[in-house]
Amino acid sequence: MFETTVTMDQFIQSMIDTFYMVGFSLVIGSIIGIPLGILLVVTRPGGIIESKLFYKIMNPIVNIFRSLPFIILLVAIIPFTRLIVHTSIGTPAAIVPLIIYIAPFIARVVENSILEVDDGIIEAAESMGATPFQTIWYFLIPEALGSLILSLTTATIGLLGATAMAGAVGGGGIGDLAISYGYQRFDSFIMLVTVVVLIVFVQVMQSFGNWLAAKVRRE
């Protein structure tokens, strides 16, 4: 039962790979996705810096990327990946599609969080003579913060799921371990360990996200 062909080093390496993939693509994805999500709110018709051009172009682009399942995106953009990281296999090769997958996702959830802010808040900001940037920085983001944290938690958990598929390009990580050892080599022990690790990881992430959101909302 407790026999396995996977060494401790391999296991630790796959954990590191997973954290690396999730962490890196979350950071870069947020750097792209958060501003994009905010821009989708403020440029929409009736928004504080309404821009038909930007909105009409970016909105469908986000939709297009959002409609591709990760496993398809992963292989579809291999030429692009190769252009960026000069390789199409390994952990770095997985990060490019992960970012392209998660950034539009983050943009969308950020957009939804910001849209939840009461119009009255924007009206108050305008009546005080706030610039669009000030309205975003001092009004929209603080008021949406709790919701933004929960959105990013969801994005992180989604990323974790996507990294499991990164095995398809030899991306490594804990999901890869489960498939190449647990599934293909019938190593049920490592399968079990992986499942438990994933469950714990998701639980911890979600609880942390909930706790942080509740804290900023002072619930």
Binding site: D118, G120, I121, E123, A124, E126, S127, M128, G129, A130, T131, Q134, Y138, F139, P142, E143, L145, G146, V216, R217, R218
Partner: protein, 338 residues
């Protein structure tokens, strides 16, 4: 001074046009507490939002202290708005920030330094009577307290005008009164011009010196509060006035007096400055019986409007003479049907 000239506003939504304002002219003088009353959908909010250009007119001009808001660039307009405070029906405070931070926001936006912000915010919280709530959050406050914070925030940048859109509509009558008293205090102590939007005549009655009545996007009547309450011209205005001034004889009283023979009814206005001894004159000069059947006195801001309904009983020609006396402009009585 606020002046609106020929303001019209048409909204287009999904191809459907709504004319929210039609050829509105309005003048609010410095130091006024100006009330705008009207039923839901009359265009009141649209009107008040024109004054800080949150909504731009389709045609017409808005002048603040003689300068046309339409001539401002975007950044000039932002600066102009700092001179016009606004409070809202639902307060619109930031729930994520403390009371102190909420009141400080307009100053933070203007990049005022921290020590000055602190002094100003504490002064304002003190002024609205909530100095002890600085570190609380909005959801720990009652509606009345939230509105006080809204007021403190609106005053932070030292505006010369304060706009109030249904600022007391979410509050109970007692809290409403305390907010109205605060507005009066602001008007008197800081000489801030206040514009109040409401659908309750009692609010106009308590604090305003001038009033405009809106209906279907137009101002149908406008004037000094005492004049409008004393002699409303339009049907809607009369209805609004009747919600606070009871100048109709109650039905029960009417029933009791309707069958008295040789009698006529007169409604006589009176105020504190009245020196005519009307009742005395009627009895002595015309030798008739005078019966007071109904009276009402109403406070309007710092004045009163009162009515007396007199039933005169006597011989026909004596009553006729008495009627002549009462219709004298100085007395201004009106005969009522029995």
């Amino acid at each position: 001074m606020i002046e609106m000239k020929h303001i019209s506003k048409t909204y287009t939504r999904k191809g459907v046009e709504t004319e929210a304002l039609h050829q509105v002219n309005l003048k609010v003088n410095e130091g006024d507490i100006y009330g705008v009353i009207g039923y839901s959908g009359a265009g009141k909010s649209t009107l008040i939002r024109m004054i800080n250009f949150l909504e731009k007119p389709t045609s017409g001009q808005v002048f603040i202290n003689g300068i046309d808001l339409g001539s401002y660039s975007t950044s000039q307009l932002r600066d102009a708005r700092k001179n016009i405070g606004m409070i809202f029906q639902h307060f619109n405070l930031l729930n994520s920030k403390t009371i102190f931070q909420n009141v400080a926001i307009p100053l933070v936006l203007s990049k005022v330094n921290k020590t000055q912000i602190k002094d100003r915010v504490l002064e304002l919280l003190d002024f609205v009577g909530l100095a002890d709530k600085a570190e609380s959050y909005p959801n720990e406050l009652s509606g009345g307290q939230k509105q006080r914070i809204g007021i403190a925030r609106a005053l932070a940048s030292n505006p010369s005008v304060l706009l109030c859109d249904e600022a007391t509509s979410a509050l109970d009558p007692q809290t409403t009164d305390s907010i109205l008293n605060l507005l009066k205090k602001i008007n008197e102590e800081y000489n801030i011009t206040i514009l109040i939007i409401t659908h309750e005549m009692s609010i106009i009655q308590k604090v305003c010196n001038r009033v405009a009545v809106m209906e279907n996007g137009e101002i149908i009547e406008e004037g000094n509060v005492l004049d409008v309450f004393g002699s409303p011209q339009q049907t809607s205005t009369k209805k609004f006035v009747q919600t606070v001034i009871h100048d109709e004889i109650p039905a029960s009283v009417k029933n009791k007096i309707k069958d008295v023979p040789n009698s006529r009814l007169f409604k006589v206005p009176f105020d504190q400055n009245d020196t005519n001894p009307i009742v005395n004159d009627l009895i002595r000069t015309f030798n008739i019986t005078v019966n007071i059947v109904f009276a009402s006195i109403n406070e309007i801001k710092d004045d009163t409007i009162g009515y007396l309904v007199l039933q005169l009983i006597g011989e026909k020609d004596l009553l006729e003479k008495a009627a002549g006396y009462l219709s004298h402009p100085e007395i201004g009585a009106k005969e009522l049907a029995k």
